[in-house]
């Protein structure tokens, strides 16, 4: 765990714990307490983008060259909505190994 999860020694805590940089919440790693990870089966995926639309954290905001939606694990909390809504059952939630 590091500064991307708000970890810092007390002497480095900003004055009054102010946030001086607008929009820096994007740097904050929120995917570290995930216990399940979505895994895509490209054989089944039709690139419909339902996962992209339904993800509450907008984790599927990137596509690769072939057009498959990529999950951003920096933010993904493993809620499983993408797997539940996928019309082709192309997403499986697998246990995160420690």
């Amino acid at each position: 765990m590091g500064k991307d999860q708000g970890m810092m020694p007390w002497k480095e805590v900003p004055f009054g714990l102010y946030i001086l940089e607008p929009g820096n919440s994007a740097e904050f790693k929120t995917g570290n307490w995930r216990s399940l990870r979505p895994v895509l089966d490209k054989e089944k995926c039709v690139k419909c983008g339902t996962c992209y639309i339904m993800c509450p954290d907008m984790c599927y905001d990137q596509q690769d060259e072939e057009g498959y939606y990529l999950v951003n694990l920096y933010y993904c909390k493993g809620c499983g909505i993408c797997a539940a809504v996928c019309p082709k059952n192309a997403i499986t939630m697998v246990m995160e190994e420690v």
Binding site: K11, Y18, I19
Partner: protein
């Protein structure tokens, strides 16, 4: 030098806030603080003080509005008492954590029930751990001086903590005393404009008060505590500067005739002046009695306090607040804790007196000193004793 005039202390405090050029005042009237905010509203309405006066629907709103105002970089003042201070409670913790240097005068008054508008220290003692700098005034002159100093202390970039000036309700707030109000030029020279490093400004957005997740909350509190303890240096510097400019000295722990004393009384607030009269009287009778009071209550002046009492055999701590079922009054408990590990310490006797406006007379102070002298040879059995309660 300013003129010495006879003034009601509340009015003089309002005048001191004006001399400090407060820019925002957010307050809700409550006895016995009323005259302070009433006079301030008059000064603003008459155009004598160029400030925004926010009338609010409660003390909870008063302190909330004050925090918002000071966060924008405006010099901000508020004042309250008793139930009003209690209603502010949850916001009081936020001000120091967000480093928002509001200055507040608390006209100390008992808490209900029974309903009491009269003076004791139960209101402020319940706010001990909110993290504000706390100062005590004993007379009108001190109240005026401390209010002006409070702005300079609170707003210093090495401080940036809210500050309370405690004045006793009625016994100080409503008395007329000869008070020297400094000239505007003198105050301007002493008190620079408030220029915080960070403030709420749409041109330069920042967030004050984000959530502190478990990974950072503790570090944030440690940083707050360290910064708070470090305010001591600035407070001492401000008092030194004040003494040079105005000739009146202030110390974290004030002592009176404590040299060679066998029994020393400790009381905060205006009744310390009555205690002084009692000390003088007892000294005339050959009794070795002295007096100590806290000028600075938070951050606790550990060093100065231990030094002040190191050679004293018995310290009689007089609390004007009750900790029901506790091990002493708030002052007594704290003083005992502060001395527990001290190499040299007095025996501590704790009295509870003057609750809900009950007067503490010169004779009461004499009685307490005599009772305390009894403990020169014997350890007190009780955690605290009440003085002035009718038994029959």
């Amino acid at each position: 030098m300013g003129k010495r005039v006879a003034k009601e202390v509340s009015i003089a405090i309002a005048d001191a806030v004006k001399l400090a050029r407060a820019e925002v005042i957010a307050a809700y009237p409550i006895t016995p603080q009323t005259h302070i905010v009433e006079h301030l509203s008059e000064l603003v309405a008459n155009g004598e003080l160029d400030a925004e006066y926010i009338t609010v629907e409660s003390e909870h709103s008063a302190i909330s509005a004050a925090l918002g105002a000071v966060a924008t970089g405006a010099r901000t003042f508020t004042s309250t008492s008793s139930q009003g201070l209690a209603l502010m409670h949850e916001i009081l913790f936020i001000a120091p954590a967000l480093r928002l240097p509001v200055v507040m005068v608390v006209a100390n008054r008992a808490l209900s029930a029974p309903i009491s508008i009269w003076n004791d220290h139960s209101d402020i003692m319940a706010q001990r751990d909110t993290g504000w700098i706390q100062l005590w005034a004993e007379n009108g002159q001190e109240a005026v001086d401390l209010v002006i100093q409070a702005f300079r202390i609170a707003e210093d970039r090495n401080v940036m903590f809210p500050t309370i000036v405690n004045i006793d309700g009625f016994t100080l707030s409503h008395v007329i005393e000869p008070i020297e109000l400094p000239d505007q030029e003198e105050v301007d020279a002493f008190l620079p404009a408030f220029k915080p490093k960070y403030k709420l400004d749409p041109r330069k957005p920042l967030t004050m008060g984000p959530v502190g997740i478990p990974e950072i909350y503790f570090e944030a509190k440690k940083a707050q505590d360290e910064a708070f303890k470090n305010t001591r240096r600035v407070i001492l510097r401000v008092w030194k500067d004040w003494a040079q400019r105005f000739g009146r000295e202030y110390h974290p722990v004030e002592t009176y005739r404590t040299e060679d004393a066998e029994v020393v009384l400790l009381i905060n607030g205006s009744l310390a002046e009555t205690a002084m009269t009692a000390v003088d009287k007892m000294r005339e009778q050959g009794k070795k009695v002295g007096l100590i009071r806290f000028r600075l209550w938070r951050p606790f002046p550990m060093q100065e306090f231990r030094k002040a009492v190191s050679k004293i055999p018995v310290l009689a701590v007089i609390d004007r607040a009750l900790t029901p079922g506790g091990v002493g009054g708030p002052l007594g408990t704290e003083v005992r804790a502060a001395l527990y590990n001290a190499a040299r310490r007095p025996r501590v006797v704790n009295f509870i007196a003057g609750l809900g406006g009950r007067d503490i007379t010169v004779e009461d102070f004499e009685e307490m000193a005599d009772r305390a002298a009894f403990y020169l040879k014997k350890r007190p059995k009780e955690a605290y004793e009440m003085i002035g309660v009718r038994e029959s």
